[in-house]
Protein backbone atom coordinates (compact mmCIF):
# COMPACT_ATOMS: atom_id res chain seq x y z
CA UNK A 1 0.00 0.00 0.00
CA UNK A 2 1.03 3.58 -0.50
CA UNK A 3 -0.17 6.06 2.09
CA UNK A 4 -2.05 3.85 4.53
CA UNK A 5 0.20 1.58 6.56
CA UNK A 6 -0.77 -2.05 7.06
CA UNK A 7 -1.65 -1.20 10.62
CA UNK A 8 -3.86 1.71 9.51
CA UNK A 9 -5.54 -0.52 6.93
CA UNK A 10 -6.33 -3.17 9.54
CA UNK A 11 -7.89 -0.64 11.90
CA UNK A 12 -9.85 1.12 9.16
CA UNK A 13 -11.25 -2.23 7.97
CA UNK A 14 -12.60 -2.74 11.48
CA UNK A 15 -14.11 0.74 11.54
CA UNK A 16 -15.73 0.34 8.12
CA UNK A 17 -17.10 -3.07 9.03
CA UNK A 18 -19.87 -1.25 10.93
CA UNK A 19 -21.26 0.23 7.72
CA UNK A 20 -24.71 -0.99 6.81
CA UNK A 21 -25.22 0.65 3.41
CA UNK A 22 -23.29 1.53 0.26
CA UNK A 23 -21.25 4.73 0.31
CA UNK A 24 -19.82 6.68 -2.61
CA UNK A 25 -16.76 8.91 -2.40
CA UNK A 26 -16.77 11.40 -5.26
CA UNK A 27 -13.40 13.01 -5.65
CA UNK A 28 -12.60 16.05 -7.79
CA UNK A 29 -8.93 16.21 -8.71
CA UNK A 30 -6.80 17.61 -11.50
CA UNK A 31 -3.15 17.53 -12.46
CA UNK A 32 -2.84 21.27 -13.05
CA UNK A 33 -2.10 23.54 -10.10
CA UNK A 34 -3.16 21.17 -7.37
CA UNK A 35 -0.36 20.12 -5.08
CA UNK A 36 -2.43 17.87 -2.82
CA UNK A 37 -4.60 16.24 -5.50
CA UNK A 38 -2.44 13.16 -6.08
CA UNK A 39 -2.22 12.30 -2.39
CA UNK A 40 -5.91 12.97 -1.80
CA UNK A 41 -6.75 10.64 -4.65
CA UNK A 42 -4.45 7.97 -3.26
CA UNK A 43 -6.04 8.18 0.17
CA UNK A 44 -9.55 7.84 -1.26
CA UNK A 45 -8.54 5.05 -3.60
CA UNK A 46 -6.80 3.09 -0.84
CA UNK A 47 -9.81 3.59 1.44
CA UNK A 48 -12.21 2.12 -1.09
CA UNK A 49 -10.13 -1.05 -1.17
CA UNK A 50 -10.85 -1.59 2.53
CA UNK A 51 -14.61 -2.17 2.23
CA UNK A 52 -16.88 -3.75 -0.36
CA UNK A 53 -19.52 -1.16 0.47
CA UNK A 54 -17.28 1.73 -0.51
CA UNK A 55 -16.86 2.97 -4.07
CA UNK A 56 -15.10 5.86 -5.70
CA UNK A 57 -16.03 8.21 -8.53
CA UNK A 58 -13.25 10.36 -9.95
CA UNK A 59 -14.03 13.63 -11.71
CA UNK A 60 -11.61 16.04 -13.33
CA UNK A 61 -13.37 19.41 -13.18
CA UNK A 62 -11.24 20.76 -16.05
CA UNK A 63 -12.54 18.01 -18.33
CA UNK A 64 -16.01 17.69 -16.86
CA UNK A 65 -16.97 21.29 -16.11
CA UNK A 66 -20.66 20.51 -16.24
CA UNK A 67 -20.54 18.04 -13.37
CA UNK A 68 -18.51 20.39 -11.16
CA UNK A 69 -20.86 23.28 -11.88
CA UNK A 70 -23.95 21.18 -11.31
CA UNK A 71 -22.67 20.13 -7.90
CA UNK A 72 -21.25 23.55 -7.07
CA UNK A 73 -17.72 22.24 -6.54
CA UNK A 74 -15.43 25.26 -6.77
CA UNK A 75 -12.06 23.96 -5.57
CA UNK A 76 -9.79 20.93 -5.75
CA UNK A 77 -9.19 18.52 -4.21
CA UNK A 78 -12.81 18.01 -3.18
CA UNK A 79 -14.27 14.86 -1.66
CA UNK A 80 -18.03 14.36 -1.47
CA UNK A 81 -19.33 11.64 0.83
CA UNK A 82 -22.82 10.22 0.53
CA UNK A 83 -25.04 7.18 0.21
CA UNK A 84 -25.51 8.22 -3.39
CA UNK A 85 -28.61 10.35 -2.78
CA UNK A 86 -27.00 13.76 -2.28
CA UNK A 87 -23.84 15.88 -2.54
CA UNK A 88 -24.15 17.92 0.64
CA UNK A 89 -21.23 16.53 2.69
CA UNK A 90 -17.91 17.88 1.41
CA UNK A 91 -14.22 18.09 2.18
CA UNK A 92 -11.87 20.55 0.53
CA UNK A 93 -8.14 19.86 0.82
CA UNK A 94 -6.00 16.87 1.70
CA UNK A 95 -7.80 14.84 4.40
CA UNK A 96 -4.76 14.38 6.63
CA UNK A 97 -4.22 14.53 10.38
CA UNK A 98 -7.45 14.96 12.33
CA UNK A 99 -9.26 15.69 9.08
CA UNK A 100 -8.81 12.02 8.20
CA UNK A 101 -10.83 10.98 11.26
CA UNK A 102 -13.55 13.43 10.14
CA UNK A 103 -13.53 11.73 6.73
CA UNK A 104 -13.79 8.27 8.30
CA UNK A 105 -16.69 9.52 10.43
CA UNK A 106 -18.49 10.93 7.36
CA UNK A 107 -18.09 7.58 5.61
CA UNK A 108 -19.38 5.54 8.54
CA UNK A 109 -22.23 8.05 8.99
CA UNK A 110 -23.25 7.76 5.34
CA UNK A 111 -23.40 4.00 5.76
CA UNK A 112 -25.45 4.17 8.94
CA UNK A 113 -29.20 3.76 9.09
CA UNK A 114 -29.89 5.45 12.44
CA UNK A 115 -30.28 9.14 13.24
CA UNK A 116 -27.16 11.26 13.03
CA UNK A 117 -28.55 14.13 15.06
CA UNK A 118 -30.32 14.57 18.40
CA UNK A 119 -34.12 14.56 18.29
CA UNK A 120 -34.24 18.29 19.15
CA UNK A 121 -32.02 18.98 16.13
CA UNK A 122 -34.38 16.97 13.93
CA UNK A 123 -37.11 19.42 14.87
CA UNK A 124 -34.93 22.41 14.00
CA UNK A 125 -34.05 20.93 10.61
CA UNK A 126 -37.71 20.21 9.85
CA UNK A 127 -38.63 23.82 10.68
CA UNK A 128 -35.85 25.33 8.53
CA UNK A 129 -37.32 27.83 6.06
CA UNK A 130 -34.07 28.67 4.28
CA UNK A 131 -31.04 26.83 2.93
CA UNK A 132 -27.91 26.75 5.10
CA UNK A 133 -24.40 26.80 3.67
CA UNK A 134 -21.91 25.80 6.38
CA UNK A 135 -18.15 26.25 5.98
CA UNK A 136 -15.94 24.80 8.69
CA UNK A 137 -12.31 25.93 8.51
CA UNK A 138 -9.82 23.48 10.01
CA UNK A 139 -6.15 22.55 10.25
CA UNK A 140 -4.97 18.91 10.28
CA UNK A 141 -3.28 19.41 13.68
CA UNK A 142 -6.38 20.64 15.52
CA UNK A 143 -7.90 18.04 17.85
CA UNK A 144 -11.04 20.15 18.39
CA UNK A 145 -11.79 20.36 14.67
CA UNK A 146 -13.42 16.97 13.96
CA UNK A 147 -16.20 17.86 16.44
CA UNK A 148 -17.14 20.97 14.49
CA UNK A 149 -16.76 19.28 11.09
CA UNK A 150 -18.74 16.18 12.02
CA UNK A 151 -21.58 18.24 13.49
CA UNK A 152 -21.90 20.36 10.32
CA UNK A 153 -21.71 17.27 8.12
CA UNK A 154 -24.38 15.49 10.16
CA UNK A 155 -26.72 18.46 9.83
CA UNK A 156 -26.11 18.38 6.06
CA UNK A 157 -26.61 14.63 5.79
CA UNK A 158 -29.88 14.99 7.73
CA UNK A 159 -31.50 17.82 5.76
CA UNK A 160 -31.84 18.77 2.12
CA UNK A 161 -31.69 22.36 3.28
CA UNK A 162 -28.10 22.11 4.55
CA UNK A 163 -24.76 21.86 2.76
CA UNK A 164 -21.56 21.57 4.79
CA UNK A 165 -17.94 21.93 3.72
CA UNK A 166 -14.82 21.21 5.75
CA UNK A 167 -12.04 23.43 4.43
CA UNK A 168 -8.37 22.91 5.16
CA UNK A 169 -7.46 26.51 5.90
CA UNK A 170 -3.74 26.24 4.99
CA UNK A 171 -4.50 24.99 1.49
CA UNK A 172 -6.81 27.83 0.52
CA UNK A 173 -5.10 30.96 1.84
CA UNK A 174 -7.23 33.37 -0.22
CA UNK A 175 -10.44 31.81 1.04
CA UNK A 176 -9.10 31.82 4.60
CA UNK A 177 -8.24 35.48 4.27
CA UNK A 178 -11.65 36.27 2.83
CA UNK A 179 -13.32 34.60 5.80
CA UNK A 180 -10.76 36.08 8.21
CA UNK A 181 -9.66 32.75 9.59
CA UNK A 182 -6.88 32.98 12.16
CA UNK A 183 -8.03 30.24 14.47
CA UNK A 184 -9.72 26.90 14.02
CA UNK A 185 -12.24 25.46 14.03
CA UNK A 186 -14.17 28.43 12.64
CA UNK A 187 -17.66 27.74 11.34
CA UNK A 188 -19.26 30.25 8.98
CA UNK A 189 -22.95 29.88 8.08
CA UNK A 190 -24.49 31.65 5.05
CA UNK A 191 -21.47 34.00 5.03
CA UNK A 192 -23.04 35.80 7.98
CA UNK A 193 -23.14 33.79 11.19
CA UNK A 194 -19.92 32.48 12.64
CA UNK A 195 -18.62 30.69 15.69
CA UNK A 196 -15.08 30.03 16.93
CA UNK A 197 -14.40 26.63 18.47
CA UNK A 198 -16.47 23.46 18.60
CA UNK A 199 -19.86 23.93 20.23
CA UNK A 200 -21.88 20.93 21.43
CA UNK A 201 -24.70 20.08 19.01
CA UNK A 202 -27.56 21.26 21.23
CA UNK A 203 -25.88 24.61 21.90
CA UNK A 204 -25.05 25.31 18.26
CA UNK A 205 -28.53 24.44 17.08
CA UNK A 206 -30.26 26.53 19.77
CA UNK A 207 -28.04 29.54 19.06
CA UNK A 208 -28.47 29.22 15.30
CA UNK A 209 -32.25 28.94 15.51
CA UNK A 210 -32.42 32.08 17.66
CA UNK A 211 -30.04 33.95 15.36
CA UNK A 212 -32.05 33.08 12.26
CA UNK A 213 -35.24 34.29 13.94
CA UNK A 214 -33.70 37.56 15.15
CA UNK A 215 -35.13 40.19 12.82
CA UNK A 216 -33.54 43.06 14.71
CA UNK A 217 -29.96 41.87 14.16
CA UNK A 218 -27.75 44.42 12.43
CA UNK A 219 -26.33 43.63 8.97
CA UNK A 220 -22.87 42.09 8.72
CA UNK A 221 -21.15 39.30 10.58
CA UNK A 222 -22.77 37.91 13.69
CA UNK A 223 -21.04 35.87 16.37
CA UNK A 224 -23.39 33.04 17.39
CA UNK A 225 -21.99 33.11 20.90
CA UNK A 226 -24.31 35.99 21.71
CA UNK A 227 -27.31 33.67 21.18
CA UNK A 228 -26.09 30.98 23.55
CA UNK A 229 -28.22 30.31 26.61
CA UNK A 230 -27.09 32.74 29.31
CA UNK A 231 -25.50 31.03 32.31
CA UNK A 232 -27.85 30.44 35.25
CA UNK A 233 -27.72 33.04 38.03
CA UNK A 234 -25.66 30.79 40.28
CA UNK A 235 -23.05 30.29 37.58
CA UNK A 236 -22.94 33.98 36.73
CA UNK A 237 -22.29 34.77 40.37
CA UNK A 238 -19.54 32.22 40.68
CA UNK A 239 -17.68 33.34 37.60
CA UNK A 240 -17.67 36.88 39.01
CA UNK A 241 -17.23 40.12 37.13
CA UNK A 242 -15.30 39.85 33.87
Amino acid sequence: MGILSENDAREIRKILADMEGEVTLTIFTQKLECETCPESEMIVSELTELSDRLSMVRINPLQDKGRAEELGVERVPAILVSDGSHARVRFYGLPSGYEFSSLLTAIVDAGRSGDLVESATRGFLDRLGIDLDMKVFVTPTCPYCPRAVVLAHRLAASSERVRAEAIEANEYPLLSTKYRVQGVPRTVINDRYYVEGALPEIHLVQALEKALADEKAEPGEIDLVRYLEPPSEAEAEESGPE
Binding site: E39, D115, L116, T141, P143, R180, E238
Partner: protein
Protein backbone atom coordinates in the same frame (compact mmCIF):
# COMPACT_ATOMS: atom_id res chain seq x y z
CA UNK B 1 4.90 10.62 5.25
CA UNK B 2 1.37 11.87 5.86
CA UNK B 3 0.07 11.78 9.40
CA UNK B 4 -3.43 10.29 9.56
CA UNK B 5 -5.56 10.25 12.70
CA UNK B 6 -7.80 7.22 12.78
CA UNK B 7 -11.01 7.01 14.77
CA UNK B 8 -14.62 8.04 14.40
CA UNK B 9 -16.72 10.61 16.25
CA UNK B 10 -19.58 8.65 17.78
CA UNK B 11 -23.20 9.34 16.84
CA UNK B 12 -25.79 10.70 19.28
CA UNK B 13 -27.51 7.31 19.25
CA UNK B 14 -24.57 5.82 21.19
CA UNK B 15 -25.15 8.23 24.08
CA UNK B 16 -27.87 6.13 25.58
CA UNK B 17 -27.76 6.95 29.27
CA UNK B 18 -28.61 4.27 31.82
CA UNK B 19 -26.97 2.53 34.74
CA UNK B 20 -23.28 1.84 35.07
CA UNK B 21 -21.01 0.60 37.85
CA UNK B 22 -18.14 3.06 37.42
CA UNK B 23 -18.52 6.24 35.40
CA UNK B 24 -15.32 8.02 34.50
CA UNK B 25 -15.72 11.67 33.50
CA UNK B 26 -12.83 12.85 31.36
CA UNK B 27 -10.82 12.01 28.27
CA UNK B 28 -7.17 12.48 29.28
CA UNK B 29 -4.46 10.17 30.64
CA UNK B 30 -6.09 9.90 34.10
CA UNK B 31 -9.40 8.76 32.59
CA UNK B 32 -7.85 6.33 30.08
CA UNK B 33 -5.56 4.74 32.69
CA UNK B 34 -8.49 4.36 35.10
CA UNK B 35 -10.38 2.75 32.20
CA UNK B 36 -7.55 0.28 31.58
CA UNK B 37 -7.49 -0.77 35.23
CA UNK B 38 -11.26 -0.76 35.79
CA UNK B 39 -11.74 -2.80 32.62
CA UNK B 40 -9.27 -5.39 33.84
CA UNK B 41 -11.01 -5.45 37.23
CA UNK B 42 -14.13 -6.30 35.20
CA UNK B 43 -16.05 -3.32 36.49
CA UNK B 44 -18.86 -2.21 34.19
CA UNK B 45 -17.12 0.99 33.15
CA UNK B 46 -18.18 3.91 30.98
CA UNK B 47 -15.83 6.76 30.09
CA UNK B 48 -17.54 10.02 29.14
CA UNK B 49 -14.62 11.45 27.22
CA UNK B 50 -16.12 14.86 26.53
CA UNK B 51 -15.97 16.76 23.30
CA UNK B 52 -12.24 16.70 22.98
CA UNK B 53 -10.96 13.21 23.77
CA UNK B 54 -7.28 13.20 24.69
CA UNK B 55 -7.52 16.29 26.83
CA UNK B 56 -4.46 18.48 27.23
CA UNK B 57 -2.33 15.53 26.19
CA UNK B 58 -3.75 15.65 22.66
CA UNK B 59 -2.75 19.31 22.43
CA UNK B 60 0.86 18.64 23.37
CA UNK B 61 3.18 18.55 20.41
CA UNK B 62 5.79 16.27 22.00
CA UNK B 63 5.99 14.42 25.30
CA UNK B 64 9.57 13.72 26.40
CA UNK B 65 9.11 12.77 30.04
CA UNK B 66 6.71 9.82 29.93
CA UNK B 67 8.78 6.78 30.89
CA UNK B 68 9.44 4.46 27.98
CA UNK B 69 8.87 7.22 25.40
CA UNK B 70 11.75 9.61 24.83
CA UNK B 71 9.76 11.62 22.31
CA UNK B 72 6.15 10.84 21.46
CA UNK B 73 3.35 13.03 20.13
CA UNK B 74 0.72 13.71 22.78
CA UNK B 75 -2.04 12.74 20.34
CA UNK B 76 -0.46 9.39 19.64
CA UNK B 77 0.02 8.60 23.31
CA UNK B 78 -3.58 9.60 24.06
CA UNK B 79 -4.87 7.43 21.19
CA UNK B 80 -2.89 4.42 22.40
CA UNK B 81 -4.18 4.86 25.94
CA UNK B 82 -7.76 5.03 24.69
CA UNK B 83 -7.37 1.88 22.61
CA UNK B 84 -5.89 0.10 25.60
CA UNK B 85 -8.83 1.14 27.80
CA UNK B 86 -11.34 0.01 25.17
CA UNK B 87 -9.69 -3.35 24.66
CA UNK B 88 -9.66 -3.83 28.45
CA UNK B 89 -13.45 -3.57 28.30
CA UNK B 90 -14.24 0.04 29.15
CA UNK B 91 -16.92 1.66 26.99
CA UNK B 92 -16.39 5.20 25.69
CA UNK B 93 -18.93 7.88 24.77
CA UNK B 94 -17.85 11.29 23.54
CA UNK B 95 -20.34 13.07 25.69
CA UNK B 96 -19.70 15.84 28.16
CA UNK B 97 -20.84 15.92 31.79
CA UNK B 98 -23.03 18.94 32.47
CA UNK B 99 -24.06 18.18 36.05
CA UNK B 100 -23.70 15.54 38.78
CA UNK B 101 -25.74 15.00 41.95
CA UNK B 102 -26.27 12.35 44.58
CA UNK B 103 -29.40 10.28 43.92
CA UNK B 104 -30.98 7.34 45.73
CA UNK B 105 -29.48 4.70 43.45
CA UNK B 106 -26.08 6.35 43.11
CA UNK B 107 -24.56 9.40 41.47
CA UNK B 108 -26.78 10.87 38.75
CA UNK B 109 -24.75 12.33 35.89
CA UNK B 110 -26.39 14.43 33.20
CA UNK B 111 -24.85 15.22 29.81
CA UNK B 112 -26.24 17.49 27.09
CA UNK B 113 -28.42 14.63 25.87
CA UNK B 114 -28.51 11.73 28.35
CA UNK B 115 -28.64 10.80 32.02
CA UNK B 116 -26.56 8.13 33.72
CA UNK B 117 -26.70 6.60 37.19
CA UNK B 118 -23.37 5.35 38.51
CA UNK B 119 -22.54 3.45 41.68
CA UNK B 120 -19.17 5.20 41.70
CA UNK B 121 -17.87 8.27 39.88
CA UNK B 122 -14.33 9.17 38.97
CA UNK B 123 -13.78 12.84 38.22
CA UNK B 124 -10.91 13.07 35.72
CA UNK B 125 -12.02 16.09 33.73
CA UNK B 126 -8.64 17.80 33.84
CA UNK B 127 -8.33 21.52 33.42
CA UNK B 128 -9.14 24.22 30.89
CA UNK B 129 -6.78 26.98 29.79
CA UNK B 130 -6.94 30.04 32.02
CA UNK B 131 -7.82 33.33 30.39
CA UNK B 132 -6.02 36.60 31.00
CA UNK B 133 -9.25 38.55 31.52
CA UNK B 134 -7.97 41.67 29.76
CA UNK B 135 -9.57 43.94 27.15
CA UNK B 136 -9.39 42.54 23.62
CA UNK B 137 -8.96 38.92 24.69
CA UNK B 138 -12.51 37.79 23.92
CA UNK B 139 -13.03 40.18 21.00
CA UNK B 140 -10.01 38.80 19.14
CA UNK B 141 -10.41 35.13 20.09
CA UNK B 142 -10.00 33.29 16.79
CA UNK B 143 -8.67 36.50 15.22
CA UNK B 144 -5.15 36.31 16.60
CA UNK B 145 -5.84 35.30 20.20
CA UNK B 146 -5.34 31.57 20.70
CA UNK B 147 -5.00 28.99 23.46
CA UNK B 148 -3.91 26.19 21.11
CA UNK B 149 -0.54 26.36 19.37
CA UNK B 150 -0.91 23.04 17.55
CA UNK B 151 -4.25 24.22 16.11
CA UNK B 152 -3.44 27.75 15.06
CA UNK B 153 0.34 28.05 14.57
CA UNK B 154 0.08 27.68 10.74
CA UNK B 155 -1.82 30.98 10.52
CA UNK B 156 1.23 32.82 11.83
CA UNK B 157 3.83 31.70 9.33
CA UNK B 158 6.53 34.40 9.07
CA UNK B 159 4.59 36.59 11.47
CA UNK B 160 5.54 37.99 14.86
CA UNK B 161 3.69 36.43 17.77
CA UNK B 162 3.54 36.86 21.52
CA UNK B 163 3.44 34.04 24.05
CA UNK B 164 2.20 34.85 27.55
CA UNK B 165 3.39 32.68 30.43
CA UNK B 166 6.49 31.10 31.95
CA UNK B 167 5.53 27.51 32.77
CA UNK B 168 6.23 24.26 30.92
CA UNK B 169 3.28 24.69 28.53
CA UNK B 170 4.18 28.27 27.61
CA UNK B 171 7.78 27.38 26.86
CA UNK B 172 6.93 24.23 24.88
CA UNK B 173 4.42 26.19 22.81
CA UNK B 174 6.87 29.07 22.27
CA UNK B 175 9.43 26.58 20.96
CA UNK B 176 6.80 24.95 18.71
CA UNK B 177 5.73 28.34 17.36
CA UNK B 178 9.30 29.12 16.22
CA UNK B 179 8.73 26.49 13.50
CA UNK B 180 6.22 28.89 11.93
CA UNK B 181 6.61 32.43 13.24
CA UNK B 182 9.50 34.71 12.29
CA UNK B 183 9.81 35.86 15.88
CA UNK B 184 8.27 34.69 19.14
CA UNK B 185 8.20 37.19 22.00
CA UNK B 186 7.66 35.57 25.39
CA UNK B 187 6.14 37.84 28.02
CA UNK B 188 6.55 36.72 31.61
CA UNK B 189 5.53 38.56 34.73
CA UNK B 190 8.51 37.34 36.75
CA UNK B 191 12.25 37.56 36.14
CA UNK B 192 12.68 33.78 36.09
CA UNK B 193 10.81 30.86 34.54
CA UNK B 194 8.87 28.15 36.37
CA UNK B 195 9.42 25.79 33.46
CA UNK B 196 11.67 22.73 33.70
CA UNK B 197 15.37 23.70 33.44
CA UNK B 198 15.77 21.62 30.26
CA UNK B 199 13.03 23.65 28.55
CA UNK B 200 14.52 26.89 29.90
CA UNK B 201 17.87 26.05 28.30
CA UNK B 202 16.26 25.40 24.93
CA UNK B 203 14.27 28.60 25.11
CA UNK B 204 17.21 30.80 25.95
CA UNK B 205 19.37 29.32 23.19
CA UNK B 206 16.72 29.77 20.48
CA UNK B 207 17.49 32.85 18.40
CA UNK B 208 13.90 33.28 17.20
CA UNK B 209 12.72 33.84 20.75
CA UNK B 210 12.88 37.17 22.56
CA UNK B 211 12.19 37.30 26.29
CA UNK B 212 10.38 40.20 27.92
CA UNK B 213 10.94 39.65 31.63
CA UNK B 214 8.92 41.19 34.45
CA UNK B 215 6.26 42.34 32.04
CA UNK B 216 2.49 41.91 31.97
CA UNK B 217 -0.04 42.24 29.19
CA UNK B 218 -2.66 44.95 29.75
CA UNK B 219 -4.59 44.98 26.50
CA UNK B 220 -4.81 43.27 23.12
CA UNK B 221 -5.53 45.65 20.26
CA UNK B 222 -6.50 45.09 16.70
CA UNK B 223 -8.43 46.29 13.77
CA UNK B 224 -11.73 44.52 13.34
CA UNK B 225 -12.30 46.24 10.00
CA UNK B 226 -8.97 45.35 8.41
CA UNK B 227 -8.66 42.53 5.89
CA UNK B 228 -7.41 40.03 8.46
CA UNK B 229 -9.60 41.57 11.14
CA UNK B 230 -6.94 40.53 13.56
CA UNK B 231 -4.60 41.56 16.33
CA UNK B 232 -2.18 44.35 15.47
CA UNK B 233 -0.54 45.27 18.78
CA UNK B 234 -0.47 44.77 22.52
CA UNK B 235 -0.13 47.14 25.44
CA UNK B 236 2.52 45.98 27.92
CA UNK B 237 3.42 47.14 31.41
CA UNK B 238 6.69 46.72 33.21
CA UNK B 239 6.25 45.17 36.66
CA UNK B 240 9.39 46.99 37.81
CA UNK B 241 8.56 50.63 37.09
CA UNK B 242 5.00 50.59 35.75
CA UNK B 243 6.06 52.00 32.37
CA UNK B 244 3.79 51.17 29.46
CA UNK B 245 4.80 50.30 25.91
CA UNK B 246 3.00 49.28 22.75
CA UNK B 247 4.40 46.32 20.84
CA UNK B 248 3.32 45.56 17.25
CA UNK B 249 2.29 41.89 17.10
CA UNK B 250 0.19 39.61 14.84
CA UNK B 251 -0.92 36.97 17.31
CA UNK B 252 -1.17 36.32 21.04
CA UNK B 253 -0.91 32.79 22.48
CA UNK B 254 -1.99 32.56 26.11
CA UNK B 255 -0.57 29.83 28.38
CA UNK B 256 -0.81 31.21 31.91
CA UNK B 257 -2.09 28.11 33.63
CA UNK B 258 -5.11 25.88 33.86
CA UNK B 259 -8.33 25.97 35.81
CA UNK B 260 -9.65 22.63 37.06
CA UNK B 261 -12.80 21.66 35.13
CA UNK B 262 -14.99 21.12 38.19
CA UNK B 263 -18.07 23.18 37.34
CA UNK B 264 -20.44 20.16 37.05
CA UNK B 265 -19.24 18.79 40.40
CA UNK B 266 -19.73 21.84 42.62
CA UNK B 267 -22.12 20.83 45.34
CA UNK B 268 -21.30 17.14 44.94
CA UNK B 269 -17.81 17.13 46.45
CA UNK B 270 -15.65 19.61 48.34
CA UNK B 271 -13.44 21.85 46.24
CA UNK B 272 -10.39 23.90 47.18
CA UNK B 273 -10.59 27.72 46.93
CA UNK B 274 -8.82 27.35 43.54
CA UNK B 275 -11.63 25.14 42.28
CA UNK B 276 -9.74 21.81 42.35
CA UNK B 277 -11.33 18.70 43.88
CA UNK B 278 -10.13 18.32 47.50
CA UNK B 279 -8.58 14.90 47.96
CA UNK B 280 -7.13 12.82 50.76
CA UNK B 281 -4.88 9.81 50.35
CA UNK B 282 -4.37 10.74 46.70
CA UNK B 283 -7.69 10.13 45.02
CA UNK B 284 -10.41 10.12 47.71
CA UNK B 285 -12.89 13.00 47.81
CA UNK B 286 -15.35 14.17 50.47
CA UNK B 287 -17.75 11.43 49.25
CA UNK B 288 -16.86 7.73 49.54
CA UNK B 289 -18.33 6.90 46.11
CA UNK B 290 -16.58 9.72 44.24
CA UNK B 291 -12.89 9.74 43.35
CA UNK B 292 -10.70 12.28 41.57
CA UNK B 293 -7.61 11.77 39.43
CA UNK B 294 -5.17 13.93 37.48
CA UNK B 295 -5.07 17.69 36.98
CA UNK B 296 -8.59 18.20 38.31
CA UNK B 297 -7.58 17.44 41.91
CA UNK B 298 -5.43 19.36 44.39
CA UNK B 299 -2.10 17.94 43.27
CA UNK B 300 1.38 19.44 43.31
CA UNK B 301 2.56 18.01 39.97
CA UNK B 302 0.43 18.05 36.83
CA UNK B 303 2.08 15.64 34.41
CA UNK B 304 0.96 12.79 32.16
CA UNK B 305 2.69 10.26 34.37
CA UNK B 306 1.13 11.54 37.60
CA UNK B 307 -2.33 11.69 36.01
CA UNK B 308 -1.93 8.11 34.82
CA UNK B 309 -0.81 6.99 38.29
CA UNK B 310 -3.84 8.72 39.83
CA UNK B 311 -6.10 6.94 37.37
CA UNK B 312 -4.75 3.53 38.38
CA UNK B 313 -5.14 4.27 42.08
CA UNK B 314 -8.66 5.62 41.60
CA UNK B 315 -9.76 2.53 39.64
CA UNK B 316 -8.34 0.33 42.40
CA UNK B 317 -10.12 2.37 45.10
CA UNK B 318 -13.39 2.11 43.15
CA UNK B 319 -12.90 -1.64 42.75
CA UNK B 320 -12.42 -2.08 46.49
CA UNK B 321 -15.49 0.03 47.22
CA UNK B 322 -17.73 -1.82 44.73
CA UNK B 323 -16.52 -5.39 45.08
CA UNK B 324 -15.09 -5.87 48.57
Amino acid sequence: MIDLRLGVVDAPASRTGGEVELLIAGGGPAAWTAGIYAGRYRLDTLILAGHQPGGQLALTHAIENFPGHSNVSGQLLADEMRKQAESAGARVAEDQVESARAGEEGIVIATTSSEYTARALLIATGAAPRKLGIPGEDAFYGRGVSYCGTCDAPFFRDRRVLVVGGGDTAIKEALYLTEYASEVVVVHRRDELRAEPVLRERLLSNDRITMLWSTTLLEIRGDEDSASGGVTSVLLESVRDGSKTTEPIDGVFVFIGWDPATKPFRGLVELTPDGAVSTTGGVRTSRPDVFAAGDVRDTDLRQVVTAAADGARAAFAAYRLLRE
